[in-house]
């Protein structure tokens, strides 16, 4: 009778949550992972010409394929990152919980804003499209 060896069903399962979400090489991988890369690059302030070069696409190909990511990259990247934090939270990552609470709890601002006086509040209303 043979002894030792891997028991049946052991090892990483197909579709494991630990698989890489994005291609490790730029410009390869699924359309969804490429879209995420483009969104992240836009959020980081890269110009479309730079992104096209990095992804090995012409600017025209980039604009045709990733029009939405080029226009709303920062918002899309933020959404991806929040979703990842949530996934990490689901796996029991306490640090992710703290970060997520920091984002959601303060409405997405950097940190809890100190209370402001009336003039500052009026100025902030003006700058955000309201009236003083």
């Amino acid at each position: 009778m043979a002894r030792g060896g891997k028991r049946p069903g052991a090892g990483r399962k197909p579709g494991s949550v630990n698989r890489p979400r994005v291609a490790t090489s730029l410009g390869t991988g699924t359309d969804a992972s490429q879209a995420e890369q483009v969104a992240l690059f836009v959020a980081a302030g890269m110009e479309p010409s730079e992104i096209a070069t990095a992804m090995d696409l012409t600017p025209i190909e980039l604009r045709a394929k990733f029009k939405r990511e080029l226009k709303h990259g920062a918002t899309i990247a933020k959404a991806y990152l929040i979703a990842r934090l949530d996934a990490a939270l689901a796996r029991g990552n306490a640090g992710a919980a703290k970060q997520l609470l920091g984002i959601i709890g303060t409405g997405g601002q950097h940190e809890a804003e100190p209370p402001v006086d009336a003039r500052t509040a009026a100025a902030l209303r003006l700058i955000n499209g309201g009236r003083a």
Partner: protein
């Protein structure tokens, strides 16, 4: 609001002030520092006016300086006090285009409607590391 009138997209809010898109993290650090500086001078009308005239400062911070000045003017109106000695038209002229997409300079962190200072002038807007497409 038509595409022509659209505001520059905001990618981040810092102390209640929107930071414009198409700026890398190094540039956004500069913008945050300028916003902090305006908050520090928010009660000093002369300093706010000087900030608005300084084309080297981040557009977002110049808009905030304008907002503080207009908030003070509005306060005086509401309290039925004499208006502060401010040329509101000039304040608006120097800043109102800074938040509009169509007025955005491709090459500098500034509005292209404002006249470019002479070469060698101290008051030149900061040049972008790469022009907007």
């Amino acid at each position: 609001m038509t595409e022509f009138d659209a505001d520059i997209p905001i990618v981040e809010t810092y102390r209640g002030v929107g930071i414009h898109d198409k700026q890398d993290e190094a540039r956004r650090k500069v913008v945050r520092a300028d916003i902090d500086a305006v908050f520090a001078i928010s009660r000093n009308r002369a300093a706010l006016l000087a900030w608005i005239e300084d084309r080297r400062t981040a557009p977002e911070s110049r808009l905030l300086a304008r907002a503080f000045i207009l908030a003070e003017v509005e306060e005086h109106k509401s309290a039925r006090r004499a208006a502060p000695d401010v040329d509101v038209d000039r304040v608006n002229a120097m800043t109102v285009a800074l938040g509009k997409q169509r007025c955005r300079s491709r090459t500098h962190y500034d509005s292209f409607y404002l006249p470019r200072p002479a070469p060698g002038s101290w008051n030149r807007p900061v040049e972008r590391t790469s022009p907007l497409s």
